[in-house]
């Protein structure tokens, strides 16, 4: 459902559940590509200025439903697509994205929206050149988040779904659903799986090797 990349630039994406270690890895990848003097740009999920006030309002008042949550995220993504990704790719820049449309597919379907409907929302975007998927056992990821974060927010914990009144239990159940969605998408979108249990520097070496082969030496 995503478009083929017909632009000069390249798109590299990291995906995985919270606490899977993907942000650390893409950061290292970014440093490495910069050190090689590549034209590279790094983008985080959910950072468009235009839509931020609406997202904040909905989260604060807790009036977001699975559908409006999905749509506001897609609006946010569209804004970044039109004003950032598309110009960057046209200009021939390597774009690194910490999370991409797959995050939306995993979360929104876990919230109960129709899988085909949400895929259509993002169908203007391109299929990344490489999508690293960090596969980790649920407990490892959940414990990492619980240990490092003071408080898990309402929507982050999936409390809008009414899975459990207990934030931690709700968070765990929500993450499990998301994990299942990711596993199911791996083949559909050609994820390059990285074993999250490997030592940090080994994972980075694997990623650099793949990027060298698929992006840099082409």
């Amino acid at each position: 459902m995503l478009q083929p990349n017909e632009y000069k630039g390249k798109l590299i994406v990291v995906e995985g559940i919270d606490g899977s270690g993907k942000s650390t890895q893409i950061n290292l990848l970014y440093k490495w590509l910069q050190s090689l003097d590549k034209d590279v740009f790094f983008s985080e999920w959910n950072s468009s200025k235009m839509v931020k006030s609406t997202t904040r309002l909905g989260k604060k008042k807790q009036t977001l439903t699975p559908t409006t949550f999905s749509l506001i995220q897609a609006t946010d993504f569209a804004d970044r697509w039109e004003n950032l990704f598309l110009p960057l790719l046209k200009a021939g820049i390597i774009v690194l994205a910490d999370r991409y449309a797959f995050t939306a597919f995993a979360r929104d379907v876990s919230r109960g929206v129709d899988p085909q409907w949400v895929r259509n929302l993002y169908s203007f975007a391109i299929q990344p050149d490489v999508t690293f998927y960090f596969s980790v056992p649920l407990e490892v990821a959940v414990n990492r988040i619980l240990g490092s974060r003071a408080k898990i927010k309402y929507y982050e914990a999936g409390k809008d779904l009414g899975l459990s009144n207990d934030t931690v239990t709700s968070f765990r159940m929500f993450q499990e659903r998301i994990l299942n969605q990711y596993e199911g998408m791996s083949e559909e979108f050609g994820f390059t799986a990285i074993d999250g249990n490997l030592p940090l520097e080994v994972k980075q070496q694997q990623m650099r090797k793949i990027i060298s082969e698929k992006i840099l030496n082409k």
Binding site: M50, V51, T68, D79, E82, V113, N120, L121
Partner: protein
């Protein structure tokens, strides 16, 4: 399981039981007289003893501040605008329209997603993509399409509040002046409405006539709809 009350998947996570109310939509170009007719219909329905609730595009408390702000700037892209309007639409549908219909109200909607699709497609959106976005939308009980000649539209707009930047399609610059741009843009919208008329089963109302004549038509169709129960 497909719920035929919706155009697509609807809201799969929600259990929506019987909705005794009626969803009545007024569609048509800018300046065709929708708000006047909405007001008349509301008064008449209330006199007849029906509960009435009004809605219209970009009125959701969730998206209104953000959308106004975005439209005031100059970087709002086509896709972003489409999805922003869809967010507004979904918010009103879930938090206002469906609850009102469940409580037995007649919901009068000034435009529905057909207008949004028409505007999107005129601005270059993929028609199929735009339709699929609204797969969560409820099928109205009746859709009135108020149709008037462009000459009449122009005169009404000029006598009323004057040309508006967006209603004239100036963001896409159909012409270098408001008048020509308005005419071209509204003509293209009409073409889109005509295309959708059959697809979505619009009831076309000749809006070149007087306010009272148009209203009599709307009233008689609405009466029939309400008597069906």
């Amino acid at each position: 399981m497909i719920d035929s009350r919706f155009y697509g998947a609807g809201f799969p996570y929600m259990n929506i039981s019987e909705m005794p109310g009626k969803l009545i939509v007024l569609e048509g170009n800018d300046g065709v007289g929708r708000s006047t007719q909405m007001e008349l219909l509301k008064q008449w329905l209330e006199v007849e003893g029906y509960g009435v609730s009004n809605t219209g595009l970009a009125r959701s408390p969730l998206t209104q501040p953000g959308l106004d702000e975005a439209k005031a700037g100059h970087t709002l892209g086509r896709l972003t605008m489409n999805l922003f309007y869809a967010t507004d639409f979904a918010d009103r549908l879930e938090n206002h329209i469906i609850p009102a219909l469940s409580a037995g109200f007649c919901v009068l909607s000034d435009r529905y997603f057909y207008s949004i699709i028409a505007r999107n497609v005129v601005r270059g959106a993929d028609p199929e993509w735009a339709r699929k976005v609204y797969g969560f939308a409820l099928k109205p009980d009746i859709i009135f399409y108020l149709k008037a000649n462009i000459d009449n539209l122009v005169k009404r707009v000029l006598r009323g509040r004057g040309f508006d930047y967006w209603e004239s399609g100036m963001d896409v610059r159909f012409a270098d002046n408001l008048y020509d741009s308005f005419v071209k843009y509204q003509n293209q919208l009409t073409r889109q409405f005509n295309k959708m008329s059959k697809e979505f089963g619009f009831v076309t109302i000749d809006a070149n006539r007087s306010v009272q004549e148009i209203f009599e038509d709307l009233k008689s169709h609405t009466k029939k709809l309400l008597e069906k129960n």
